[in-house]
Every structure is written in structure tokens, then in C-alpha cells.
């Protein structure tokens, strides 16, 4: 079994991948992973025939997966779908997905990712706001802790649908995005930590040091600007494994453990 296509959704959107497979009239299975969540989309001669993610099947599964903006995908050719759960035509679905993608572009100007966490705005809206029942349900879940993904799971809605509602509630002044790293961990690693890490690691590894750190941060699915403090020791440990000399590694760890323990 040969994987012909593999990559990251941040670089190539799922919609573009499906369009490509559709044009190429490919048959096979597209596996998508986002953290602990997984999804499968089956194509037959380029047509979408089956999709599943969590409890969602068919069209609902495809739209949910199309809403995943981050994660990894791989396409394995020549795998037949175990069942056919999609009745809508692929052209129709791709058209709807393109429309959603355009809306996503607007939403992304306010919502950084589906992992973003929102809270009720203390100042509230200056205008009268009327809410639909579904908007009220979403609003009731917003607590400064749950991400869009979490809310979608709780309410069994598409991430896109929840993001759209949160977008409109935010533009109405009812909600504001909180720093999700702060919400989950309390604080982020400060600049001084990265400065010391980079200086000490460069001492051991030479000029490639900062690049290794940058790669490791990416592999951990983080960014330096928002890197959580509670992952700082893990980062130090991971990059220290790049030091082959055990005495030098222990010495580097000793200096960094002193930094971490303040």
C-alpha cells in the first residue's frame, strides 16, 4: 500500500486536496488527523462517497472535516469505501465548501483558530441584540475555557457553524477572544527563557542551535510567541536529546533546569 499524498492542512486546505483528487478521478481514502481527532473521506473515481469523523457521517462528516484548518492528512489510493453515506453530488458539495471557505476567510480575521477560546465581553453590546435559539445555545457554552472545537462537540454541531455564530456574537460586541494559552495554563514562557535557551544551546551546538529550537517548537505544535510555560521543560528536554555527548547534555540540562526553577 503506497501513500501518494501526505501533508499538513496549514499548507494545503482539505478543499484543495479534494478538488485535486476529484479532478484526477482518484479512488482511495483520505485520512485526516487533528490532535486526538481523526476523520476519513473516501473517494471513488474522484467522487465523494463516504466520510466519517466522530459520530458524524456522510455530508455532515465532510463539512466538519472541511472546517479543520490545522492537522495532517494522507491519501492512500485504491481503498474502497466500506459504505456509501454521501448522496449529494460532489460538485454540489465542493460548491458549498467553497462558499464556506470564503466565509472562513472573513471569520479568520476575528477568530485565530478553532482552538480559540472566547469569553463574555464585560462591556457588552451597545445595541439591542436578538438571538436565535442556536446562538443562545452557543453563547451559554462560552465560559473562557471551552474552545470552538469543544463547544461544537458539546452541542454536536459543525465547527464551522459554531465559528460562524461566535464570529457574529463577537462582531456584535458580546464576546471577545481570550488568550487560550493563558486560559489553559496560566502563563506563557517569557522572552528571557528563550534568550537563555538559545544562547546556551548555541554554545553547545553552534550556529544551528536556534534553528533546531525553532523546529522543535513547531514539532510540538507551538509558536515561540505563545509558547506555554508548562511545556518549557519538555522543550528543553527534547532539544537536549540532540546533544550526543552525555556529559555536555547533562551540563546543558543543569544550566537550563536552574533557569526553569528560577
Amino acid at each position: 500500500m503506497v501513500e501518494v499524498l501526505k501533508g499538513n492542512l496549514a499548507q494545503l486546505s482539505l478543499l484543495d486536496i479534494i478538488k485535486m483528487l476529484n479532478t484526477g478521478r482518484r479512488t482511495g481514502r483520505l485520512d485526516i488527523h487533528q490532535g486526538s481527532k481523526t476523520g476519513e473521506i473516501y473517494l471513488q473515481n474522484g467522487s465523494l462517497v463516504h466520510a466519517v469523523t466522530g459520530t458524524q457521517l456522510g455530508e455532515a462528516g465532510v463539512y466538519t472535516l472541511l472546517g479543520w484548518l490545522e492537522g495532517e492528512f494522507s491519501f492512500t489510493p485504491d481503498i474502497e469505501a466500506p459504505e456509501h453515506s454521501i448522496s449529494q453530488s460532489t460538485e454540489q458539495m465542493l460548491l458549498e465548501a467553497s462558499r464556506q471557505a470564503d466565509q472562513w476567510a472573513d471569520i479568520k480575521e476575528i477568530i485565530s483558530s478553532t482552538e480559540a477560546v472566547f469569553n463574555i465581553s464585560p462591556s457588552g453590546s451597545t445595541n439591542t441584540v436578538s438571538l436565535k435559539p442556536i446562538e443562545w445555545q452557543v453563547l451559554a457554552q462560552v465560559n473562557g475555557q471551552q474552545s470552538i472545537v469543544d463547544i461544537a462537540e458539546t452541542l454536536e454541531l459543525h465547527e464551522f457553524e459554531v465559528a460562524k455564530i461566535i464570529f457574529s456574537l463577537t462582531t456584535a460586541g458580546l464576546l471577545h477572544e481570550v488568550d487560550h494559552v493563558h486560559a489553559m495554563t496560566g502563563e506563557r514562557a517569557d522572552e528571557a527563557f528563550f534568550e537563555q535557551l538559545s544562547a546556551l544551546f548555541t554554545d553547545v551546538m553552534g550556529p544551528l542551535g536556534p534553528m533546531i529550537i525553532e523546529d522543535e517548537i513547531k514539532l510540538m505544535g507551538e509558536e515561540e510567541e505563545t509558547f506555554p510555560q508548562n511545556k518549557a521543560a519538555e522543550l528543553v528536554e527534547r532539544i537536549s536529546l540532540e546533544i550526543s555527548d552525555s556529559a555536555k547534555r547533562a551540563n546543558f540540562q543543569k544550566q537550563m533546569v536552574a533557569v526553569l526553577r528560577g
Binding site: 508548562n230 521543560a233 528536554e237 527534547r238 537536549s240 547533562a250 543543569k254 537550563m256 533546569v257 526553577r261
Partner: protein, 125 residues
């Protein structure tokens, strides 16, 4: 060795630590008073068994983590002995692992520690 164990214990979430040989004889310990010698040796016996059984089936078994009731037991094979750290489940494992590595690396060049370990190792043979 006792001083090194005290350093491990200074980490947040660490409850206590000890080093024992493969016959469950405790060589050094820094444990809360609630754990008496017979309790510790009893724990040590079970852990030595886990390490030796694991070592027979898994080549180069160096590190074992056991979740036991409300605690996490972090066990490291030091060749001549085993180091056991008792901690809370929420302990920063990376920080703990690095602290242990710093300590065990320093033990490798510490003549007193080596003497203590080798003497116990020879006693066993």
C-alpha cells in the same frame, strides 16, 4: 547519594525518592516519615521484580513509570541499582527526568557513589 535525592525532592510534585539494589536493599533514601523501612523495602521488592522481569522481555529497559493509586512511581535502572521517585501524577516529567539525568551523570564520576554502588553490586554476586 542522600544529598542528590534531596535535590530531586525539591522539585514540585515529588514526594520522595530512594535508591535500592537488586535485592531490594535500600542504599539511600529521602522519604517522608510516613513510609517506614519495611514499607519501602516491600515497595522496592516489587519494583525490582518489575524491572528484572521487564529486562528479560524488553532489551535495555531503562525507565519505567508505574501509576499506583494517587501516585506515580518513576523508576530508573542504574545498572547496579534502581532509583525510585515517588511523585504526584501532575509532576513535570521532563523537569524530573532532566534532574535525574543531571544527578546520575554526576554520580558516574563520583568515586564515593560508585564505591557504594559497586560494593553492593559485588555483595550480590
Amino acid at each position: 547519594m542522600n544529598q542528590g535525592l534531596k535535590e530531586i525532592n525539591e522539585l514540585g510534585g515529588v514526594w520522595g525518592s530512594f535508591v535500592c539494589n537488586n535485592q531490594a536493599k535500600v542504599l539511600a533514601s529521602a522519604l517522608p516519615p510516613s513510609l517506614n523501612k519495611s514499607n519501602v523495602e516491600n515497595i522496592a521488592r516489587h519494583l525490582v521484580e518489575v524491572i528484572s522481569t521487564g529486562g528479560e522481555t524488553i532489551q535495555k529497559l531503562q525507565e519505567v513509570v508505574i501509576y499506583f493509586q494517587q501516585r506515580r512511581l518513576f523508576i530508573l535502572d542504574l545498572q547496579q541499582a534502581i532509583l525510585v521517585v515517588i511523585c504526584d501524577p501532575g509532576v513535570d516529567v521532563s523537569l524530573l527526568r532532566m534532574t535525574i539525568n543531571i544527578l546520575t551523570t554526576s554520580w558516574e564520576s563520583d568515586a564515593n557513589v560508585q564505591k557504594q554502588l559497586i560494593m553492593n553490586y559485588e555483595e550480590r554476586l
